[in-house]
């Protein structure tokens, strides 16, 4: 069974690389050969360390087997794309990206010495823990435990039936989409106003962007003051103005909004900054031409400014998603502690609860890897778009 799957994956990978090689003006037969090897090697990438356990009827059920096939596909895709990337590099397309300037220094030892500290730190403290996370995710283990049990992919597949985890998935999506939506809309509105030639624009700008320097944790503390049930000023104001109060931190419907409001407040300045930079890149002659043709200010904004800003918007969606996924942890920890009723337990907070509080390292590692895959998906999207259209304007 597993060998048939390896064969199918190898054929697909061979066909894909043959195509890529012929486009890069390299030998397609070589590509097909490498592709077949990548397909086999990629399938084995996860299966050899796992010892084919997903196909072992004693250890695994159908869900595990399906997950194993998925892993084989992912491994093969990763190696195939890596080879395609290297082939592009060899065929010369990549060289331009990192070519030395003409007056380059000579010497082979010097660049190694210059790069050694960076590479060592990245290898030891980023690459190694990343790989180790994969190993941990197949184990039943605790911090400081001497004995560990190999559980194949159970840590992943038992997440499917884990209500707490699924809940954190939905919570994360809800909170991050809301943060992105409100923060970006407000930032665009405010940046457009600051960009108008009005008196005191620089003054307004400074008064608007400083929360960038405030930590997510302090944002949590500040909004704890504003939202707290006994002396919170926001409920005091709501009560005096409209005659009602919102149980911000005690109600599972309201609590995510407390986190969202605190996070929007904290991230707004950063987004305004980027929209201001983006607005400076909107070509002036285009707007003039449109104005002469009789387009109203609103039409010019909708038809020209917003489309011209779309690369920045896309970039900001990704960075704000990442913010909501990870940095919001500090805010949540001070503001709601993940509650009430786990209504503000994001995936990252769940990893903390499961791995550190619950001391189930394997399961938390599996959750980390799923989050990892999500982030890599976003980042690849970002790089693809960034490479094509976004100018960072350094």
């Amino acid at each position: 069974m597993q060998y048939i799957i390896v064969g199918i994956i190898a054929v697909i990978a061979a066909a894909y690389l043959a195509l890529r090689f012929s486009r890069a003006r390299l030998n397609p037969a070589l590509g097909a050969g490498l592709g077949a090897a990548a397909g086999v090697g990629g399938s084995l990438l996860f299966m050899l360390p796992l010892n084919w356990c997903t196909f072992d009827p004693d250890l695994s059920d159908d869900i595990d087997t399906a997950f194993g096939v998925l892993l084989m596909g992912v491994g093969a895709a990763a190696i195939t794309l890596l080879i395609a990337w290297i082939a592009d590099g060899i065929s010369g397309r990549r060289v331009a990206v990192v070519a030395a300037v003409p007056g380059a220094f000579k010497g082979a030892l010097m660049p190694i010495l210059l790069l050694a500290p960076t590479l060592t730190v990245l290898a030891l403290f980023l690459y190694y823990p990343s790989l180790d996370t994969f190993r941990l995710s197949t184990l039943l283990t605790r911090l400081g435990a001497r004995r560990t049990v190999f559980v194949c992919v159970d840590n992943f597949t038992r997440l499917v039936a884990d209500d707490g985890y699924l809940n954190s998935f939905v919570t994360t999506l809800f909170i991050s989409v809301a943060i992105v939506f409100f923060s970006l809309s407000l930032a665009l509105l405010i940046a457009s106003m600051v960009y108008l030639p009005i008196k005191g624009a620089a003054f307004y700008r400074t008064l608007l962007i400083w929360p960038y320097a405030i930590s997510p944790a302090v944002a949590g503390v500040i909004f704890l003051l504003l939202f707290n049930p006994t002396g919170g000023i926001i409920n005091y104001a709501l009560n005096n103005l409209f005659g009602f109060q919102i149980p911000w931190l005690n109600n599972p419907v309201a609590a995510p909004w407390a986190v969202i409001i605190a996070s929007v407040w904290k991230s707004l300045g950063y987004n305004i900054l980027f929209y201001l930079a983006g607005l400076q890149n909107v070509p002036k002659d285009l707007l003039e031409a449109a104005a002469i043709d009789g387009a109203s200010a609103l039409a010019r904004f909708r038809r020209i400014v917003i489309p011209m800003l779309s690369p920045i918007t896309f970039f900001l969606i990704i960075t704000n998603m990442t913010y909501a996924f990870f940095e919001s942890f500090g805010t949540i920890d001070y503001l709601t502690g993940g509650g009430p009723l786990e209504s503000t337990t994001t995936m990252m907070y769940n990893i903390y609860l499961v791995g550190i509080r619950g001391n189930d390292l394997g399961k938390a590692a599996a959750e980390s890897i799923i989050l990892f895959v999500l982030v890599i998906g976003f980042t690849i999207l970002q790089f693809r778009t960034a490479g094509q259209r976004v100018t960072y304007g350094a």
Binding site: G89, V97, V98, A100, V101, G103, A104, P111, I112, L114, L115, P117, T118, L119, V121, L122, F125, L126, Y127, P129, S130, D132, T133, L136, S192, M193, Y195, L196, P197, I198, K199, T206, L207, L208, A213, S215, A217, V218, I222, L225, N228, I233, K284, E288, A291, A297, R300, T319, T322, F329, G330, D333, Y334, M348, I356, S368, V375, I376, Y392, A394
Partner: protein, 292 residues
Amino acid sequence: MANMALQDTRLEDARAVRTGLARWLPKRWYAHLILIVACFIVGFPLFYSIIVSTQTSSDVYAYRFTPGEALGDNWDKVMNLAQLWRYMLNSLLVTVAVTAGKVVLSLLAGLAFVYFRFPGKWLVFGFVLLTLMMPTEILILALFRFINQIGLGNTTGALIIPFIASATGAFLFRQHFANIPAELSEAAQLDGATPIQFLLQVLIPISWNTIGALTVIQFIYAWNMYLWPALIIQGQANQVVQVGLRTLVGADQAISFGPLMLAAVVASLPPLAVFLALQKQFMSGFALSRDK
């Protein structure tokens, strides 16, 4: 937008006489209105925090908007009882070390990537670039195990060493150096300068904007770290201020907000000061945003 606005100005000028109320309002009053409201909403939480940091608990529950008289008491609680100064010093040490390390290592990496030819350079570059996709938070459990295994657990080193390299920084300086005219490095070579002399005497003096921008990003990143220090540091001696604020929140009892807000405000001063001081460099030099 500028032109759109200019166009509007001309139209308004053409109308020449502004009538009634319009005469007394500043031009584009709607923009001022929106911005003043926005500044108020953005500023209020911190403003109110500063007010509360001078108040007693009974002032807070009476919703007073005037400064109270408990600043001295709160300061005493924050500094002597909660020992905030110790956390502040730890944070300062960690942040300065991480920021300086990242700037120096990124400068060196940028120098190697732009001014040297060596085999497999694009591969090394890919190795560095790929780390942009690895948020520390995701590998925090494995890192936690690893740091404890090598005996760095519960030390200041655990907060510094894993973070002193920066893919963002290397990338930023590579971009910046690549835009510098090649004549500079050719001239330096003719003069017989070594790469390090070239870096110190030519590149750094013309890179202050980029260095300033990276400093702001990394200072704020390092100062604001929360989850990692909360995990790896036990006890008070080496803890940073973001986690140290916890001691003022207490467990399951009424929080006394005066001292807590004073501590939160004090803990925010260093990154705010750095941000405001280097705002110009930050605005002109920032190119990437990943806080890594």
